[in-house]
Symmetry: C2
Subunit: 429 residues, 2 copies
């Protein structure tokens, strides 16, 4: 049988690892795929750059048209990231009858519908296991392994950079800035880490999961989203005192036909599986109506875990199975515009930190406002503070309505005894 | 498009749940599979038995030949368990051109090679996601999601009954007998629980995983195996004192081309993901050379988690993808008779409990024998015991050679100060 030709778009961290494995582990891959896989081109802006793995110079090209015109290229593997030019490359590749493997969550979250419609029209596959939680075979688990289930909820840690930073802050009592610098030094955060730490990356991944799990058509920009940028270490210490850790949690759940979803730093009780996810790991908890609770854990980012997902897609594509999971089984089913839950339809417990000026009657004032909005206090911590006139007052609430809770917080801001903007995070069940 | 006809073999706990879902959730399943699925027969020994879900009487039959002769039956779903008659049913079904879905790990562990060879000959599929850890899409994760990896090791909790019993013993300080009775009362253990608690069920599942992950052809009877039957609560208390829990762990790892595998109660440090697996849950930790650490968690047994796996296989079969995962991708690859590691090639830390007679010099004698076999002591616990003449002496060793450690234990048995048979378990890294 002829070999199966592929082209790699991008030769950054992940692309470089994929190139190395395609060339160095070609026997293993041929054994798994049942056919030899030939890397024919690597598209890169800078062919002369020195790389950790140096691919043969003849493979490197800056010319997309040359790849597009090569009839031996059966699939392109897109690992550049960003919306353009990848969108144009993938469109033209599909039109030229080539299959696609991509790790580009931004592209899928924003242009997935049009790309998948085009793939269906052309009878081609877009495989995207690597786009969410690379080291976890999550896309297959959702679309195949749990196919008999109505998914009820997803709770996930999807950004390795943020989780690494929060782990350092929690365990080493570092400031946000120190932990971010460490992540950058370790190659776990980019020079501009904003998409990771402001929650955008997590929201894009959640949009993809919500599409697969609920058929929900949601732009990542429409997901309520707070990241961990500038998080105050004080809150991690108080959370710890209360038996919790704080994680950047993506949540989506369906209830009475209405969908709620958000990305937020969230308190999780220690010993819960999600609380134990440390460093650059990702984890996903999925509840299905038939299967019950499931939990998946693995490295979420980095060259090798992502390469593992890319190559498993490639093996699947060469074997012939990929068209069943990726073309028939998931994205291309008609999407629904599911009604969304409003803040007044969401219940949660909350962690609330107020910096208050020490004077008598503060607690009564605060409790009065919370009670007025139907928010009950479950526990309070305020430590004696001899040096300063303003002290943190930390409250864990009982289950409360998100909308009412926010109104209460706004009203608390107006109290003369409340010094700064209050900080609050939900507490996971 | 015509509907896809299936027959169910067995209408016990799992079969009954599958029948109910096939009939009550037929719209959902048709939506996922792209084609209606018609349950045409249910093979049962006792059609008149009253069941939690009562299928239409016309579906129930005791006549396998009637099912075999029905050309509308595209697949049979085997949920009876045991080796015979299922082996004959599945053979004849394959010969008649029907695909197979099975949860029968004993059958696969013992007759998998012949059954899969026959399936290949006939161009049919044997789908078996439900055979190991039903609530975890583990078979697909191994054969597809991690396809680009050389698996390096598997550590797994695969028997929900044993894990439930150990959890009760640990958390409620119950005896083995009390915990087993509770498992039986909850329907988590059969009237004869031997295959669960003596480790056989776990060994059969490990044989299947080892075949998929390493291509290793191993009879479950050839896997060194100890179960939890009759476990002494004393050891759970000492383990806890030492920051560990005891789990019935299945392990397989490949090192220098040689495979080691065993099923044994094993000490795991608290906070390790596997240590936190409680009650009837299963969990699997897989390390791949590309992906690194992964961890999967879900309900291992019970009607609904197993039904979820069975129906995901069925959806996959009807969509057309199953032949790629189950026919081309896994079992049917040539098996290897991998060389096995001997006890003298396996290193581990050990937990060792001796009941010793209180007299001077005991520790010196014990340490002398251990040291003679190259086994170093990492920690010792012996509590003051006023009432009894024999007291437990608990030792955690440094890394030691399994073969030498066993020789040391045999020699310890001969010491006059050692009262009963020593108890020992490995400690997971």
């Amino acid at each position: 049988m002829d070999s199966f030709g592929v082209a790699l778009l991008g030769c950054g961290t992940v692309g470089n690892a994929v190139a190395r494995l395609l060339l160095e582990e070609s026997d293993r891959l041929a054994g798994q795929a049942g056919r030899r896989i030939e890397l024919r081109h690597i598209l890169t802006r800078n062919p002369s750059r020195v790389r950790p793995f140096q691919p043969p110079a003849a493979l490197l090209t800056t010319d997309w048209q040359r790849i597009l015109a090569d009839p031996q290229v059966g699939a392109v593997i897109e690992l550049t990231g960003g919306e353009q030019p990848p969108l144009d490359w993938l469109r033209t590749a599909l039109m030229a009858g080539k299959d696609i493997i991509t790790a580009n969550k931004a592209l899928l979250a924003r242009h997935g519908e049009t790309l998948f419609a085009l793939a269906r029209e052309q009878g081609r596959v877009i495989a995207f296991e690597a786009s969410v939680a690379g080291g976890i075979p999550l896309i297959r688990s959702l679309t195949q392994g749990l196919a008999a289930n109505q998914v009820e909820s997803i709770k996930a840690i999807l950004n390795g950079t943020s989780n690494f930073i929060l782990t350092q802050m929690t365990e080493k009592h570092w400031s946000y800035e120190q932990a971010l610098a460490e992540a950058q030094a370790k190659g776990l955060a980019e020079a501009d880490p904003s998409l990771d730490v402001n929650g955008t990356d997590t929201a894009q991944k959640l949009a993809i999961l919500a599409r697969l799990a609920f058929g929900a058509l949601i732009a990542d920009q429409d997901i309520e989203c707070r990241g961990i940028a500038g998080m105050d270490q004080t809150d991690l210490l108080f959370a710890s005192e209360m038996g919790c850790v704080i994680k950047l949690l993506a949540e989506a759940w369906l209830s009475e036909g209405r969908l709620a979803l958000h990305v937020e730093p969230t308190l999780i009780r220690r010993h819960e599986p999600l609380a134990e996810v440390r460093g650059p790991f990702n984890a996903v908890e999925i509840v299905g109506d038939v299967v019950g609770h499931t939990f998946f854990y693995g490295l979420g980012a980095g060259a090798l875990p992502t390469a593992s997902a890319v190559l498993s897609d490639l093996i699947d594509l060469v074997q012939g199975g990929a068209k069943y999971h990726f073309l028939h089984a998931s994205w291309v089913r008609p999407a629904q515009r599911l009604p969304r839950r409003t803040a007044h339809e969401i219940e949660s417990r909350f962690y609330l930190r107020l910096n208050v000026l020490e004077k008598t009657g503060v607690l009564a004032e605060v409790d009065g406002i919370l009670a007025h909005h139907g928010v009950g206090i479950a526990s309070v911590v305020q430590h004696e503070e001899r040096e300063q006139s303003r002290v943190p007052l930390v409250i864990m609430t009982h289950n409360a309505n998100l909308g009412s809770f926010r109104q209460a917080v706004r009203q608390l801001c107006d109290l003369p005894c409340v010094a700064d903007e209050p900080t609050y995070y939900p507490i996971a069940d």
